[in-house]
Symmetry: C2
Subunit: 236 residues, 2 copies
């Protein structure tokens, strides 16, 4: 039996055992959903960049720049962080340097594990098949929001944990995994309804971007699992 | 309407707004339950001490020393961290210098808020009356376990948040408060049964101390709310 660990925020990452695990970076609203959308629409690669200074290094290259802070597109970026920007016209065949408030830092932390993938509701079944086939302990790292717990990432972690446990090959002794599964059990019957109370819902509403929320909670729009290797995410 | 914030671990504390709040330090298994028990049994004061080095300063004074790390009593301490040690014979009229793995550091962090109290299931109703009378925003700080989320503190935070919201004088836009209340809604019908899956249950079992768990989840054994002022906890 393999163990499942859930970590609710990047600031707690150093306090968990993550060595040797296959990891999933989770930022449902919106970074990891946007990345899965980019690959669904034919992006070649995504380079997750934690800081704005690092991102500026990429502006003289031919990469596309996708970047936001607090939901707002940075002025030197080509596009912001809504999955709706990552259309086939925009991203097909391209390398995207990508930086967001919480999500890309989370991906770079998850990369300290054995292998890191990017997860979202829109690729959840493919992600779980990859984790099951990986035959290792699993570490689910939520982006949260600036050091704080958030509901949507935690509920997603609970959904993944429950799916893995249902295979009979995984178990958990991690309180955050148990709590996440309990939250998922409450959210599952009406996921979009449940997520309405999340703080990020209100933040996105304030910047007129709440229309992405239903899309970010749709299941299995793609079978692609973006995998991190040598600083770059590529479609598995 | 006053806001309720829940912070699941001390490592996340700097990322939340806590200024001006009345705070509650929460370490159900076992520090805050033990402190409430000490006052129930007539202790005069409790000095929460974060580190072992700081605690050693107190060994030449006439204070009683209560201290553990990872559940085991430190060799220079008079007693460890089980609430069962804090009997009337041991503690009545005494000042106790107290240090535990997670709990006392949490109390000292909570003290950065406007006023900090110590909360446990055994004083939950009195605690909620104090918070309601306090007429301020409320910050519920869980000790967790070494930077990790734990179930028992989070469920307690949810119980307090729900009681406060039920007064009609409080609300929340904090995802961790919403999650904590959801966990409480699941735990409430059979609190002792729900908490059996918590990791701390297993840790206490391994050191033959699991017998305190039912006691730590009993409701309202005392009306005393320990309040922090100038480095010392006293009964309100």
């Amino acid at each position: 039996m393999h163990q499942i660990t859930v970590c609710f925020t990047p600031v707690q990452f150093p306090y968990y055992h993550y060595e040797g695990c296959n990891a999933v970076a989770i930022d449902i609203l919106r970074a990891t959903t946007s990345i899965c959308t980019a690959f669904l629409n034919g992006a070649k690669e995504v380079i997750p960049v934690s800081t704005i200074d690092e991102l500026k290094i990429h502006t003289d290259r031919e990469y596309m720049i996708a970047a936001e802070r607090d939901g707002i597109k940075l002025d030197f970026a080509d596009i912001g962080n809504s999955p709706y920007y990552f259309t086939r016209d925009m991203v097909e065949g391209r390398t995207i340097a990508y930086s967001t408030t919480n999500g890309t830092h989370t991906i770079n932390l998850a990369a300290k594990c054995h292998t890191a993938a990017v997860g979202a509701f829109i690729n959840i079944s493919a992600l779980c098949r990859w984790l099951e086939a990986g035959d290792r302990d699993v570490f689910l790292l939520c982006a949260g929001w600036k050091g704080r717990f958030n509901l949507e990432d935690s509920v997603f972690a609970g959904a993944v944990a429950q799916k893995l446990i249902d295979t009979g090959k995984f178990t958990t002794i991690c309180d955050s995994a148990l709590a996440a599964m309990d939250l998922w059990s409450l959210a599952k019957p009406d996921l979009s309804g449940y997520i309405k109370k999340a703080a990020q819902n209100e933040r996105l509403r304030k910047i007129n971007s709440a229309d992405v929320i239903p899309y970010c909670h749709e299941l299995d729009l793609t079978d692609i699992v973006p995998i991190y290797r040598d600083g770059v995410l590529k479609a598995l």
